[in-house]
Subunit: 395 residues, 2 copies
């Protein structure tokens, strides 16, 4: 993929700067700015953590008010658990970006990721914004500036050919790598030149988040700063309706799914990705609960890390998930191999399971035999490297 | 402590045998038998996992029927996810023990811990029971025979002097060390010579479990086999009533608390124990949810492992727990040091927090400022050793 990320859609430019948000890290891009040449319809999904960071609080207000012109993001400091000063700083960051862009502060979305509980160096961030040269090529710098312990930038894009013309969708994300020194945060920004109204976009984004970003897990800890923000500036002149709107929604969901999988694959210490499909659950909610509990289980994740044929941990995780589970009716497959079928273990060679668990991508299929509920979730393995990254931040 | 465990209370004898439950492990004690010289009132608490192991299903029936005479336990195989054959095997294990003891199978409780999804070698277990020499000194062997990856046996006992005379309480437990190859299991067996009726014992044991074994976490994975079983044989002749019954209940709770803390301290790869006190929660249920989510958080546990002053992770874990949390009202202390107070971070030296996090036992105190709910939970740190133990079972 050649890349283009957030500037693939027409009318968007981006850039980044080195603000030295963290002292001693002056060489690193740590502030990103994304600007649309015209006002954008916006929709956003924020962390469900009740301890919500100041930039999320501020951006929520701005998105509700709409329309937006720009996004400003910093890495290195989460501006979370920073009290009332935190909201003043997030607002000041929007104001500084607004001056550079030539819009009102309410037209700017802000996002932060990094250490929790330390004051945001908003002065340094504001000063850095003047240095940014916005361009259609700035997508790469922007995608690097939002990284923390991510090992690589995450961008994707696609063009959708609709009856009324083509629209473009592009995005960038940062992953749930642990941040020096504090918190796994998911930030994702998607831009499109489709002309959609706010209610449609909210609905489409809510659904997309639910089946992509909300279906991945690195370590079960929900950040205070998680943000998915989608801007639609209408620059294509194409306003999808009916079947076109459904096709647009599907493409946007695919962009989110790609970014979400990139995040899982780049999870801290991750060496493998696994997909958990639960079906036959008593309800969709039950399926979701079981699938996510399995992806979150330290025991399942260490077994997968070691390529260890401990399939019993999968069923045990489902059993404690809160979903209705009857092990007399359940079946479990690893890839195409049944290890437990219709309520009884299947005699399989350890080596066969081990080979499947040892692959870089593992499919786990759990049939509960209770109803029609189904759900898919994605997770990554738990390695000693994860512990090292998160235990030794200053040493 | 000199020890005496399950044979400290009068009228109890114990012993162990080497059944070779796991092939190639013939040198290891892996079957334990505890016998009372007279019938016992019994109360039990089992795993909340819906995938419940066959021995738990069988023992639940026997406890409901009561009274009991004996407990038979094997390590090396959990007899879980073993379908209908599993229940037949658990029943056969009770029958074999009953023959040795000279009672009915219904008077025997059975428990198993070890690999999930493989048939129990019940023949080898039954044969081994005949070798067991029951004695008052058998508590030590019994406490070793139930171990899996535990690094040391866990026993405790105490005498309670009541108005009507003294009663004794003793116990043994095995911890949530990961079992070769499968599942963390908590087994705890407590014996007493107090004369209590079944309804009182059920109430006392339910409360004790709730504030001790149910307040610890090693890795958030609930076993299919968790069992706490308490037998009261009345051999002291002392029937506590009123204040004496409360004193007995308190002593039994303390025995459970000691065993629970031994389990945490011996958690897989654990190098430190931490206690989380949550108070000022909107409700007791909220306090419990917040305290347990903090003890389960991989981020909190890795920070504590590394002695890393990432206190923000504590508040973030509370915020995602489902309990009502308002970071504008919360305070967080590590030991005596406030790091966050009345909704704002406190400026503290990293070195001071690092020193507190670096201690072998860490106290985390979270005040939510919302109500009267309070709860205490215990956890252990997450180390690379935990990952190694759980990822590499065959290598």
């Amino acid at each position: 993929m050649s890349g283009k990320g957030v500037t693939y859609a027409r009318g968007f430019r981006a850039g980044a700067a080195k603000a030295g948000v963290k002292h001693g890290r002056a060489e690193r891009l740590d502030v990103a700015l994304v600007v649309s040449d015209r006002p954008c319809v916006a929709a956003a999904v924020f962390t469900t953590n009740q301890v919500i960071a100041a930039p999320c609080v501020v951006t929520r207000t701005h998105v509700e008010r709409g329309p937006l012109r720009a996004i400003v993001v910093n890495s290195g400091n989460a501006n979370a658990c920073t009290g009332e000063q935190g909201e003043r700083d997030a607002t000041a960051m929007a104001e500084a970006a607004a001056k550079v862009v030539g819009c009102t502060p309410y037209q700017v979305a802000v996002a932060s990721t990094g250490v929790i509980g330390f004051p945001l160096p908003v002065g340094r961030i504001a000063s850095s914004l003047g240095q940014i040269a916005l361009s259609e090529d700035g997508w790469d710098d922007a995608s690097r500036a939002i990284m923390t312990t991510d090992t690589r930038p995450k961008v994707t894009e696609r063009e959708v050919h609709l009856g009324a013309g083509s629209v473009r969708i592009g995005g960038m994300a940062k992953g749930a790598g642990m941040i020096h020194p504090n918190m796994a945060t998911l930030l994702a920004f998607v831009t499109t030149d489709a002309k959609v109204d706010a209610a449609d976009l909210r609905r489409i984004v809510g659904h997309a988040a639910d089946t992509t970003f909300n279906a991945i897990s690195i370590d079960g800890d929900t950040s205070t700063n998680d943000t998915l923000l989608v801007l639609a500036n209408g620059a294509s002149g194409v306003a999808p309706k009916g079947a076109d709107l459904a096709a647009f929604a599907d493409a946007l969901r695919q962009v989110c799914a790609e970014l979400a999988r990139m995040i899982v694959a780049d999870g801290e210490g991750a060496t493998k990705v696994f997909e958990v499909r639960v079906h036959g659950a008593a309800s969709a909610a039950d399926a979701r609960l079981a699938a996510r509990t399995i992806t979150n289980s330290n025991l399942v994740r260490t077994a997968i890390h070691g390529g260890d044929p401990n399939w019993g941990r999968i069923l045990a995780a489902a059993g404690r998930s809160g979903a209705r589970v009857d092990d007399r009716r359940a079946s479990v497959r690893i890839g195409d191999l049944y290890v437990y079928r219709d309520g009884a273990p299947v005699t399989v060679e350890d080596a066969a399971v081990r080979k499947l668990f040892g692959a870089p991508t593992i499919l786990i299929d759990v049939a509960l035999g209770l109803g029609d509920g189904e759900s898919v979730a994605w997770g990554c393995d738990l390695s000693a490297e994860y512990v090292r990254i998160n235990a030794e931040y200053m040493t």
